[in-house]
């Protein structure tokens, strides 16, 4: 019925290499649940217990090396650590100056420890989360969320948002560029000059939405983007989650 075309591999290569599988975390759903358990355990560590926090760093370290995650990207994200977190850590540093440790003449205050623990917990939680989410394609994360009973409306919303995020960001970049090449110094980039630009982007967005809706209804859209039922949680999923829970508990108890 169709003319023979050369292989898709000969067409200009699209972006994105296939993600690596995550070892020992089971299905996508159990991977997400294990991550949540990990974070709960990490957050329950008392605020002066640096050793235990460090030990929990094992989990993201293991994930990053075994899944060969994009470490550069994760480190870049870590360097952009929220100023709010740093502010809170600094707050503890300044407010709790009661010395509690003496290490070769150096006085370590409670605030230093709790401040460092805050930063360490942030680094470890971010590294763990990103290692997992970078290793599972987004459509599978959404399937897993659906299987975890997230409402259909929200799952559809996530899929559409992710789909059009890059499209709209390109449009915004191009519009901003068009503004910038006709701006000089600070003239042209003020709030009241830029609001109409954002307004134009908004109008284009709304028109695009109409076209997309047309496309969806032309193919019979009834409210869900994917109509296949999600898989039920399996025994091996429960086993995987249980084992990791025991491991986290053990780490908490040992340290």
């Amino acid at each position: 019925m169709y003319a023979r075309l050369p292989s898709a591999a000969s067409l200009p290569e699209g972006r994105g290499a296939p993600p690596r599988p995550l070892p020992f975390l089971g299905s996508d759903r159990s991977a997400l649940l294990v991550t949540v358990l990990f974070l709960f355990s990490l957050l329950s560590i008392p605020k002066f217990n640096m050793a235990e926090v460090l030990a929990f760093g094992a989990f993201p370290l293991f994930l990053m090396s075994a899944a060969q995650a994009d470490v550069k990207m994760i480190v870049k994200r870590l360097l952009l650590i929220s100023p709010f977190v740093l502010f809170m850590a600094a707050g503890n540093l300044l407010l709790d100056r009661n010395p509690v440790l003496l290490i070769s003449g150096l006085r370590i205050s409670g605030g230093m420890i709790s401040g460092t623990v805050i930063v360490a917990k942030t680094i470890i939680s971010v590294a763990a989360l990103l290692s997992v989410t970078q290793s599972i394609p987004f459509y599978r994360i959404c399937r897993a969320l659906e299987a975890l009973h997230l409402p259909d409306v929200l799952v559809t919303q996530l899929l559409l948002l992710d789909r059009y995020r890059s499209v709209l960001q390109e449009e915004a970049q191009s519009m901003q560029k068009a503004r910038d090449i006709r701006s000089f110094g600070r003239k042209g980039k003020g709030l009241f000059r830029t609001a109409p630009l954002i307004g134009s982007l908004l109008l284009r967005t709304i028109t695009r939405a109409e076209r997309i809706y047309r496309s969806m209804s032309a193919r019979g859209f009834q409210g869900r983007l994917v109509n296949r039922p999600a898989e039920k949680i399996s025994r091996s999923d429960w086993r995987t989650i249980g084992l990791w829970a025991l491991l986290f508990l053990a780490l908490r108890l040992i340290f």
């Binding site: 019925m1 003319a3 067409l11 459509y139 789909r163 499209v167 193919r219 983007l225």
Partner: protein
């Protein structure tokens, strides 16, 4: 196959977009619709898949009258290829996008898997089935949106500016693909050379009316006619 009688359509502010159009297209025919910007071409083809309903006059496709009640049947019969593939591919994964239509048609899972694989393999997109549409190149997206529409086995294929954004090589591939289709085709395009290569018949639209309708070679070879309708000869005929 398609019968349009006395069709009229105006925008909310009163501007006439379609002004008494009558057009008959036989089964298996391929018709090109050309005209200057604002002539009403896109408005006309958006009637064919039921996005707009006739304000005056009537449209029937495959004997089915176009009205609110029959929209589902019309959607099954008419495939519309959007000008911008980004408007057409709206899921997170190419496979899911192609499966979307068959799923909504109520096909069973085995059949869906089969038709989706067939469509993707025919268009040499099977290896890309797990990619997100945003990870595809423009050419790949164009063929992907074709797959997404053709998988529903429509009886009529409507294409709105199918070669916009395509490089010459991909454009040639698209011409081959379209010529290999054995269904009724309506193509709206500014690319007169593409129309010449893929359509047997051409209609010229101007200000909401059809001003000329005839065999492609006759219409697209007539400089005076084209210029009177704010068009030019196809590039290959301009030497």
């Amino acid at each position: 196959m398609i019968a349009i009688e006395g069709l009229c359509f105006s925008w909310q502010d009163g501007t006439k977009a379609i002004d008494h159009i009558s057009l008959a297209v036989g089964e298996g025919e391929s018709v090109g619709i050309v005209g200057a910007n604002g002539a009403g071409k896109s408005t006309l083809v958006n009637h064919l898949n039921g996005y707009f309903l006739p304000q005056k006059g009537s449209i029937s496709i495959g004997g089915v009258a176009l009205n609110k009640k029959n929209l589902d049947r019309i959607h099954r019969m008419v495939g519309l290829l959007f000008q911008n593939p980004d408007d057409q591919l709206f899921t997170a994964r190419l496979y899911d996008d192609v499966a979307f239509g068959p799923e909504n048609l109520g096909m069973n899972r085995a059949d869906i898997a089969r038709v989706v694989e067939d469509a993707l393999r025919e268009l040499n997109l099977w290896e890309l089935r797990n990619r997100a549409p945003s990870q595809l190149s423009q050419g790949q997206k164009r063929f992907a949106s074709f797959a997404a529409v053709l998988v529903m086995k429509p009886e009529v294929m409507v294409m709105d500016e199918p070669t916009a954004d395509l490089d010459p090589k991909n454009r040639r591939k698209l011409i081959n693909l379209v010529n290999g289709l054995d269904i009724t085709r309506i193509t709206v395009s500014h690319d007169l050379d593409f129309i010449q290569d893929t359509c047997q018949r051409v209609c010229i639209m101007k200000q909401g009316r059809i001003t000329a309708d005839g065999p492609t070679e006759e219409i697209l070879g007539n400089r005076e006619l084209l210029e009177a309708n704010d068009l030019e000869l196809p590039l290959r005929l301009q030497r």
